[in-house]
């Protein structure tokens, strides 16, 4: 595993992402925008379901999904640059898996909230909101909890 991570760190795009004056920094900004659109949309839908979304009233909120998809695409692309720059730092940190787990589970619950005809369950909405916000908090904790840093 370590051999693979070291090989990635010596890959020219990884070196570029680390050493270019703007690449890593711009990826951080785009990641923030992408996550804001993705999680922001998720938070809105979960809050709406939590605050009295009646049966059928959530269908219109599917209109937010294209915006969230754009945010997800931006977050994934910029996140890939951040990951390639410091693969060992991220992939050896269990918080990274927790972040992904929270975001994937939140997305699955979101689909359930937007299901046609059914009134959204408040418990599901609360859990969905909690998962979105936990995913963001886990992303922030990555900066403070890594134990392996093989390149600087």
């Amino acid at each position: 595993m370590n051999g693979i991570l070291v090989a990635i760190e010596h890959w020219p795009p990884s070196i570029w992402a680390r050493e270019d004056e703007y690449a890593y920094f711009l990826a951080l900004i785009f990641h923030a925008w992408g996550m804001a659109l993705l999680v922001g949309g998720g938070v809105v839908i979960a809050l709406r379901a939590l605050c009295g979304g009646a049966a059928g009233s959530m269908v219109g909120f599917r209109g937010l999904l294209p915006v969230m998809w754009c945010g997800a695409a931006l977050a994934v692309l910029s996140g890939f640059v951040l990951l390639v720059a410091y693969p060992a730092k991220a992939l050896t940190n269990p918080i990274f898996a927790i972040k992904f787990g929270c975001l994937v589970c939140a997305t699955l619950l979101l689909r359930r909230l937007l299901r046609e005809g059914a009134a959204p369950a408040r418990g599901v909405a609360a859990l969905c909101l909690l998962l979105w916000l936990s995913g963001v908090a886990a992303g922030k904790l990555l900066l403070h909890t890594y134990t392996v840093l093989t390149v600087s």
Binding site: L28, I29, G40, V44, G63, V67, A137, K140
Partner: protein, 152 residues
């Protein structure tokens, strides 16, 4: 704040607050600009109190950051620009409720508000995206490694 987990926990809450703020206010702005017309504007507007709560969380945690390391912020032009953008966003919101909000409530549920209201939405959206960007720049170019402030 200077304990092992003080700063990271405050950062987590700062980003959770930002998600609540951008999710509710940012998506209300996007809806005013004509995105996701199937979502009734009033439904989104009902969630604005969560955005205000998010702003309060950000303000409290942000104040803690500045009080802990004032030299990292007060001599950082990105921080001053962030404050300026928040001021513009606040004034924009005040003017929106004084001038254009009525026309938004009178518009059809699936319609696009009149041009002045859309302009308020655009200014608000750009301000909050700018606030997020400045927040990233603050952390990337901190004094004393970077003294890039033209007026400090």
């Amino acid at each position: 704040m200077t304990t092992q987990w003080g700063w990271p926990i405050a950062e987590c809450f700062h980003f959770i607050g930002l998600c609540l703020l951008f999710g509710t206010v940012g998506f209300f702005d996007l809806r005013m600009l004509g995105v996701a017309r199937a979502v009734p504007l009033r439904s989104l507007h009902r969630l604005i109190p969560f955005g205000i709560a998010g702003f309060a969380i950000c303000a409290i945690t942000g104040t803690l950051f500045v009080m802990t390391t004032p030299d990292q912020y007060l001599h950082n032009p990105a921080f001053l620009t962030k404050l300026l953008l928040m001021l513009v966003a606040g004034l924009n919101m005040l003017l929106f409720y004084l001038v254009a909000a009525r026309s938004v409530w009178l518009a059809a549920a699936d319609g696009v508000p009149p041009l002045p209201a859309r302009l308020f939405g655009l200014v608000s959206l750009l301000c909050w995206l700018g606030v997020m960007t400045c927040g990233r720049i603050i952390t990337a170019f901190r004094p004393p490694a970077f003294y890039w402030c033209p007026w400090c």
